[in-house]
Structures are given as structure tokens and as C-alpha cells.
Symmetry: C2
Subunit: 564 residues, 2 copies
């Protein structure tokens, strides 16, 4: 009689259960056992901020599939998977192919043999190495228990002031959750910008928006958590400032929890994550690893990255679950580090490489544009989208896109993610056939319009200047002619006020004599979003001006102070 | 001195103005003239149903770019384009390269010379060749004047009953618009299904939903419009039934308005549209044609198609506008016939080939799946999506997708449209890296989950049966074991009632003895959406049953009557 395969999965959050369930569907006879250190399993951990923020009331919604909480009984009855919660796997004996485990409540120890092992030990939140980090009131939002604690804070309604430490995805989501709980927030980020997956101009636009909801402090870290009788009373910053608060949430990122793998002699990568091949197999062919504990491969840069994202955890779990049974038949291709977050009423997302990330990866053959436009026609209540597109200049191949705004960001990021996956170029996207009807998009979808602007730029029809470059040029008092080509009413409402002159596009041809005769003078021009700016640039170029620059994204994407 | 290029554009709706504006940006000196038969220009004609339906109040919103209605003054001031409205181009003298035109109001005729000509004469609504079609109260929704008329109907609120003839995109959008105006609707379609770009099962699901808002009659055409004193009083159907109504909107499709091109001796294609190459150039190299009057090339089937869609008109206009100035540098690659429409609270969209369209194109190497799932987690108020995916079986290449439901259909269709554009396979999509956070999607996006199901099918992990095939099998009294694997509460609420037995998935392993011993018996099983059905199938296959079929899309995508 055939021996049944023994599969052990270490970790029961996202990737582990997925691997176990997939393995079960591949082999009804396999003996599948899952060890989980925490009391819960299959937690929708990305949903924690929305539970804390009151989007829904029942914590079990984070633990459920239709009709049932995913507990030990569920896993046994529906999937014939044996699960041990509150059980830590202490070590892996690779020679004997067995794990040693410890029941955390009973203290009981045991060993369990495997034919194939899947490590899904997740990630651990980083904590700043400063005094007071263990005070009551200092927490992370990483575990179900953290979520329970912060939800209790919301429900009790006693806490007035909180500090969120870290301006990444989780930090910003936590800001929103606590803001919705009626708590006054200070957000602290050590780096000079929020959301480091965004380029600076884009991050500044997010920051301007978040400032309307929370006090944002950049370029400053926590020096100490201050307390009284074991309870948090405030946070001292590195610059000496003290911020009184009763709650502090640390969200400065996570590190791969690769301890068990490392102790077992498995190879780790330069990011500290477990090294795996495209089959999710570690340096030991009988051991696979999936989820936040592994190192991934970036599909555009080719570089190793740590990408602790729930969707990738699921995809990797599915691949490993198939491969432990079928042999290496399924592949995880790598990541674009596609991410998105809700920032109050904005969506903010990114896929592929930002300009910063491309430069860090040594890619300099770059062109970028910033495009601003609505997601739908104005008559259908279109909402603004701002996209920064990054392409390989020589080939036009799309390398990355960042999108933000109150508009339909999820769709835009999805479009670019698939475009990068398909190795599409700007020309491909310029002729894309996307679903159009007024309730869903513009006749020329925002993504296609972005490709059109890029195509114009690559074909030399105009040159752009980024907001950052323009600000530098202004600071250095470089001689420039500055031109705002909007209407007087728009100018009265809002303007840069940097010495520009106003010549509405419709009057430009008739008022060319107001411009200097010298044709090689530097001209920078803009409108609200840059469409009229582009048309004006074409007119000036046709008149012989050789040095005409359009401010990318116009006033709508200007991330610095304005006169008005 | 250089002679300025003379560009004439015939048609001022969507593609024509786009071509003219693009040509202007390519050449500031060109003399660009646009002739438009109707009094309006640059109409957002896809927005007519939403104006009629009361989504917004000001008709000028259909004619505007930010801040200004696109009239003759606008085109001259902003774009230096001379426009002649209410002016018909009567003929093209290709030898002399000039057009003859007629001012419809003054009766004045003239000629205008061109170096390059762009034909953008659009499409004309088809009308059924039956008596009474000219009665007052019989209209189309094709022109701004039609929209004005129907909006007046809404605002006056006198009409109680209307018949909409044609169950395509425009017909269904018109249904919604009139329904919102408080009018009782009967929708008549000559063919046996609505929305012929959908496969039958998907179309039936739309029909079931539309039936809750309007009376839908399929497989029946109009025999006559009935009237009294010149006013519509009813519609007689081909089966003799009479439907009293005061308003009838004809929406049985459009035909390319290729009259001018044909009279000028330009080649037309088999669809009746003007034949153009990828540069949008007709059989006369000095004449380009764009928009609803041209024939396009289907990117998947390679077949000629007439694709009268507003987004394509804009893309084609942009290409032609560049090429008339720069020579043939820009390309329009062809179409996936991507389309979407709002059907009350549903979105319904499609891209690439349906199964029906693939078969019509002679493509038989096909596999399909139907997937049902939410667009977001339940705790974020996810809404249902139903997707039918069509792939090339041998290669896994994606050929087409149809998506419908209250969920985020626009994003799903966009994802598939780009995937097809990039020639992605099911394996590519199964490992796609899409933006995930609970406010935006599931951890495994609906599109990726659909690819996973298809991957399982292509790898032989399960076999499916479509709703249509299953109904046929039931009708023919084929011996089958029928198994519903949901919970008893779900069964009580809703069930097929075709003789199935209920064995919840969690009990299946323990109750295998209730199934026949004969291992080659046909078993058809299902659940709500087919996930549990798939797991059940894996269990049965592992027990040696060889003939196990999962009902695709489960009860959620069952388009026929149920017991309950």
C-alpha cells in the first residue's frame, strides 16, 4: 500500500493555509498538518485597519469564509487539514525530516515528521530601539490581538491623542482608522517623505492631503516613549520636541521572520528573507517557503526585494501547495511590488518601478510624465486622478506607474500592472482598447491619455519640467519667462505667483508680441493640468521658440506652496 | 515661401474634431477646416442616455471642455480650426482634391481644396422597414436633437409607456434612462438574447435582471408602428401582439455612414465600413477615414468588424490627425471590441472574443470558465462579479472575457483587455501582481481567481459543465447523480430542485457511502459559486469517481428557472 505523503505547514495566517488547502485539493490522501503560533488562523490581516476604523463590527468577519470561521474544526471538516494553534515550531531537523513543536498553553512538546515542509512564518514588525517601547499604550497593528486592542480603544472612546510612527502603507491606514475613531493624530516619519514607494512629487501631494486630517511631521524619528506608572504619556522626537499622547502605534515596517529557516541552515537572501526559487523551494528541496518571510524577485529591476503583501502570500501559497504534491509544476514569477492604500478619500497606488527606485537599480534610460485628469466625464461626477508614468526612454517600455487621487485608482494601477506584466510599450498603451462608457471612464481613459502624453514627449513634441526641477530653477533665479495660459477667473482663484504672466491659451496667438523676441529664452508654461500648456507649447515652438518647457501635471500636481 | 498644408475634416462629432485638433498641434501653420452637418460639435454622444436619465441637467455639459462649449468660436480661438456647422459635404473631387459643400440653412454652395482629407461621417441608426416609422413619438437616441427630445419627454413627465426596440448597448442604456424618467418600458429584441456580444448564459443573467425593471420580449420584432393623427399609439409585434405606447425608441444598431466615401470611389470593406489601413488611410492615400464610418480589424480573430465605439473614434482621430501632417508615423492597431454598459445597478462588459464569436470565427480550440465572486471582501461590502473567460485551450492564451454584476466591472474588463493586448496566458494571469487592499479588491483579485479556475481546468484538476449543457442533460433525462454541497440553510433559501441531494462539503467525506458504488456514474455537483463544488469534485475524483462535473458558476450564475 502506498504511503501517504506527509505535509507540514508552519504558519497559519495567509500563505500557510493557502498552501495547505491547495495541497489538499491536489492530494486527498496526504496527511496535512498546520502549526500556528497565534490563536487565530486565516486572518484577513490587511483588514485590521478597517475593523479598527469601524467599517464593520464583527471581528469574525476577518476570520471567515462564507458561513464559517476558519478554526480547527473548519479546517478539519472542510479541508481535512489538522491544525494546531498556539503551537510554536521550535526547530527543523532536516536530516530526519521532522519538526519539533511546543504547545504554548500546555507546555507540551512533540515532533512531527514531514515529506515536504512549507515555511510561512510571516514577518515581524520592526520596533525603534528607544526607551519606553514596552509602555502600555505603545502597540503595533500587526496581529489580531493588536486589532482587538485598537478596536477597544475606538469603542471605549477615552483616548484623545495618538502618535503614529511610520508613514508607510500601514502607518497611513492606521492614521485613517484612528482618525475615524475620533482621535487626534500626529504622524511621524523619519524619512523626508511619506510612502517611499512614491516619487517625491507624488508623496508630497499625499502629504498635503493627509495634513488636512492629521499633523504630519517628516524627517524626524522617535527618541523615546515617555510614561507615567507604566502608561504612555507622550513621545519625544529626535529633535527634542515632545508630543503628549495616550496611544502610539508603531508602523515602521516589517522584517521577514526567517529565524526558524536560518536556524535550520536554509539560505537567506540579501533582504533577510528566505531564499526561494520560482517554485517557492528553499535551498533544501524538501522545504518550501511562502509569504512575508521570503525574498522575492522584482520583475522589472531583477533585484531581490522583500514584498510583504497579502496578495503575493496567497499566490505563493497556492504555488507551493501544488508543488509539494505534484513536484515543481507551478511557478511564482516574481513581483512588481504592486500596492495600493486608501488614504481617507484618496486612493494611492503604485506598480513596477518609481523613478527613484529605477535610479537606485541603476536604470537611467528613463522618461517620466505626470498626468492629471478625471476618471469619468465631469457630467458623471468624474473624480481626479494623478498618474506618474515611468518608461524606458529608448524602447518606450513601461517600467512603473504611480497613481493617486479621489478617482478610481484601483483600476488605473491594475491596468498598468498588467501592461508591465505584458511588457507593453507606450505605443501599445496609446492604442489600447479599454471599456468606455460615461459611467465608467473617459472616452480616452486616463491611462491611455497618460500614454499619449508620454508618446508626445518621446516623439519630441514637447519637453516637460517637473515641479521639483522648476522649484529649483526658481530658487536659483534662473532667467525664465513664466506663462500661465488659463483663464483670468481661474487665475484669480488659484495661482503660483512666481512672477508668471497670464495669457489665456485662446489669446496666445494674438498676443505673441508680448513675449521676448529672443527665441532661445527659457519659457516655462502651465495651466491647470497641462493640456492647454501643451497646446501653448506647440504654438510657441511653431513660432521659433526653442526652449519651451511645460510644467508637468500643471497646478493640479504642484506639491509646494502657492501664492494663492 | 512654403505653402501651408490644407487639411479638411468631414464630420464634427468625436473622431473628426480629434483629428483636426491633433493635426493643429502637429502643424501650427496648416489650414484646417472642419465641416459638420449638425448644429453641434464634439458631442459626448455616449452621454446622451445619462442626460435623458437625469444624471445631470445642463445639455452643454455634453458639448464642453473645461470652461467652454466647443463651438465655432472655441475651435477658432483655442485651436485655430475653421468650422462650418449645418454644412454638408456633398462630394469629393479626388482628382482636383477638393470637396463640394452645401450650407443647409442658407442653401449656399462652395468648394474647398485639400491636401489631405479626413472622413469622419459617423454612423446612421438602422431603422426597421415597417409602416409608421415616421410617426411622432418614434425616435432614435443617436443625435443631440434626439437627446433633447427625450429629455423634454422626461421633464414634461406626460408619457407613461414606451417601447424600446433593440436589446443592444444603446437599447439597454435607453431603457434605464426612460425608467429613471418614470416611464413603463417594454424592451423588444428580435434575437433570442440581449446584448449579442455576450454568450447566452451571460446574456440570460442580464435579462433576468432587466426583467425586474422592464418587460423584456425576446425573439420578436416590430411589424408596425401604430398611430392616430400622426402620433404613435402602439407597436404591433411580428407575432401579432400589440403594445400600447406613446413613445418608441429604435436602437437596433447603426450602419457605417460611408455614402460619401462610396460615391467618391473609395473602397469599402465587407462590413460596409470604409476600408482603412493601420494608418487610417483609405484606398486614396490623400484621404483618411476615422470613427464609426470605418471598418476595423479584430485583434484576436483577425476578422474585419464594424466597431462604432466612442473611444476607438478618438484613438483613430488622433492617429489620422498626426499622419495627415507627419506622414504615416502613427498606427491604430485594431480593436478588441471592448465595450461596457451600465444596466441600472449592474455593469456589463466584454473584451476580445466571446465563445460564440470565437466559434463564428472558426476558432474551436477553446476552453471556458464561469467564475462568480465578490469584487472586495464581504467586510468591505464587496459586490458580486460574474466572469466568463474564453481561452485557447492548447496554449492557454486569453481570447476574451465577459463580466457582469453589481461589482466593479470596469476594472475587470480593463484588466482582461490589457491582458489580451499583451497576449498573456492563463498562467501569466494566475501569477499577476495586482493592487490589493481590502477597500479595492480581494487578496486574490476576481480576475486572478478566474485564471486560477481556468488553470485548474486546463491542468485537468476538474471538469465543468455549463448551465446550458446541464439543462440539456436534465431535459434528456440522462442518468446523473446530482449533488448540492452547500449548507442546509442555504438549501432552504434557494435551490435548483432538479432531484439533487444535499450533502454539505464538510460532511462529504463521511457520507461517501450515500453515493452509488459504481465509479463511472455521471455526477454533477454545485454550490453557490462553485468553489465548494470544486473541492467536492476533488474528493470524489480521489475516491475513484471518474465522471464528475462541476456546474460552472454554481447557483449564482444559473440563468434558468429554479424550484426556489
Amino acid at each position: 500500500m502506498e504511503q501517504h505523503k506527509k505535509i507540514i505547514v508552519v504558519g497559519g495566517s495567509a500563505a500557510g493555509p493557502k498552501a495547505a488547502a491547495r495541497a489538499r485539493r491536489m492530494d486527498e490522501q496526504a496527511e496535512i498538518t498546520l502549526f500556528q503560533q497565534s490563536p487565530d488562523m486565516s486572518m484577513a490581516s490587511c483588514g485590521y485597519p478597517y475593523y479598527v476604523g469601524g467599517f464593520f463590527q464583527d471581528r469574525n468577519e476577518l476570520l471567515g469564509s462564507p458561513g464559517s470561521v476558519r478554526d480547527t474544526a473548519y479546517f478539519w471538516n472542510a479541508k481535512k487539514i489538522r491544525t494546531h494553534v498556539r503551537t510554536q515550531v521550535l526547530s527543523i531537523d532536516r536530516k530526519r525530516r521532522q519538526v519539533e513543536y511546543l504547545h504554548l498553553d500546555t507546555g507540551e512538546r512533540g515532533t512531527a515528521p514531514y515529506d515536504k515542509l512549507v515555511i510561512a512564518t510571516g514577518a515581524v514588525p520592526r520596533k525603534p530601539p528607544v526607551p519606553g517601547v514596552d509602555l502600555a499604550g505603545v502597540t503595533t497593528l500587526q496581529s489580531m490581538q493588536d486589532a482587538d486592542f485598537l478596536r477597544k480603544v475606538r469603542d471605549e472612546g477615552k483616548i484623545r491623542k495618538a502618535v503614529v510612527i511610520g508613514g508607510g502603507l500601514i502607518g497611513i491606514e492606521t492614521c485613517e482608522a484612528l482618525h475615524l475613531a475620533g482621535i487626534q493624530i500626529t504622524l511621524i516619519e523619519l524619512l523626508p517623505q511619506l510612502l517611499t514607494f512614491l516619487d517625491n512629487q507624488m508623496a508630497r501631494l499625499v502629504e498635503q492631503y493627509v495634513q488636512t486630517k492629521a499633523n504630519v511631521i517628516l524627517g524626524n524619528g522617535v527618541a523615546a516613549f515617555l510614561g507615567d506608572k507604566g502608561h504612555l504619556t507622550g513621545v519625544r522626537l529626535q529633535n527634542g520636541a515632545e508630543i503628549p499622547c495616550e496611544l502610539a502605534v508603531i508602523a515602521i515596517g516589517v522584517a521577514p521572520n526567517a529565524h526558524l529557516a536560518k536556524e535550520s541552515g536554509l539560505a537567506l537572501g540579501p533582504t533577510g528573507g528566505i531564499l526561494v526559487n520560482e517554485f517557492m523551494q528553499t535551498s533544501d528541496p524538501d522545504i518550501y517557503a511562502v509569504g512575508d518571510c521570503v525574498e522575492s524577485h522584482h520583475l522589472v529591476s531583477g533585484l531581490p526585494v522583500h514584498a510583504p503583501l497579502g496578495d503575493l502570500a496567497n499566490l505563493q501559497g497556492r504555488v507551493a501547495g501544488e508543488n509539494v504534491i505534484k513536484g515543481n509544476v507551478a511557478r511564482f514569477p516574481g513581483t512588481l511590488q504592486t500596492g495600493i492604500c486608501k488614504v481617507f478619500d484618496y486612493g494611492v497606488g503604485s506598480t513596477g518601478l518609481s523613478q527613484q527606485a529605477a535610479l537606485r537599480a541603476g536604470i537611467t534610460d528613463l522618461e517620466t510624465v505626470v498626468n492629471v485628469g478625471p476618471d469619468k466625464p465631469g457630467f458623471m461626477k468624474g473624480r481626479r486622478l494623478i498618474t506618474k508614468l515611468v518608461v524606458e526612454k529608448s524602447s518606450g517600455r513601461i517600467l512603473g506607474a504611480q497613481v493617486l487621487g479621489p478617482g478610481d485608482v484601483g483600476k488605473q494601477v491594475a491596468i498598468w500592472a498588467i501592461a508591465i506584466k505584458g511588457k507593453l510599450t507606450v505605443d501599445d498603451m496609446a492604442g489600447a482598447d479599454l471599456p468606455y462608457a460615461p459611467p465608467f471612464s473617459l472616452a480616452i481613459d486616463h491611462s491611455i491619455a497618460t500614454a499619449h502624453i508620454m508618446q508626445n514627449k518621446l516623439r519630441g513634441y514637447f519637453r516637460g519640467i517637473s515641479a521639483g526641477e522648476f522649484r529649483e530653477a526658481l530658487k536659483s533665479h534662473k532667467p525664465m519667462v513664466l506663462l500661465d495660459v488659463r483663464n483670468p477667473e481661474e487665475y484669480e482663484q488659484m495661482r503660483l505667483g512666481v512672477g508668471e504672466r497670464l495669457i489665456p491659451l485662446g489669446q496666445l496667438r494674438a498676443r505673441m508680441d508680448e513675449l521676448p523676441q529672443e527665441k532661445n529664452v527659457s519659457i516655462v508654461l502651465w495651466c491647470q493640468v497641462s493640456l492647454r500648456g501643451y497646446e501653448a507649447a506647440r504654438i510657441l515652438l511653431a513660432s521659433g521658440y526653442t526652449n519651451v518647457l511645460v510644467l508637468e501635471g500643471g497646478l493640479a500636481a504642484w506639491p509646494f506652496a502657492r501664492e494663492k
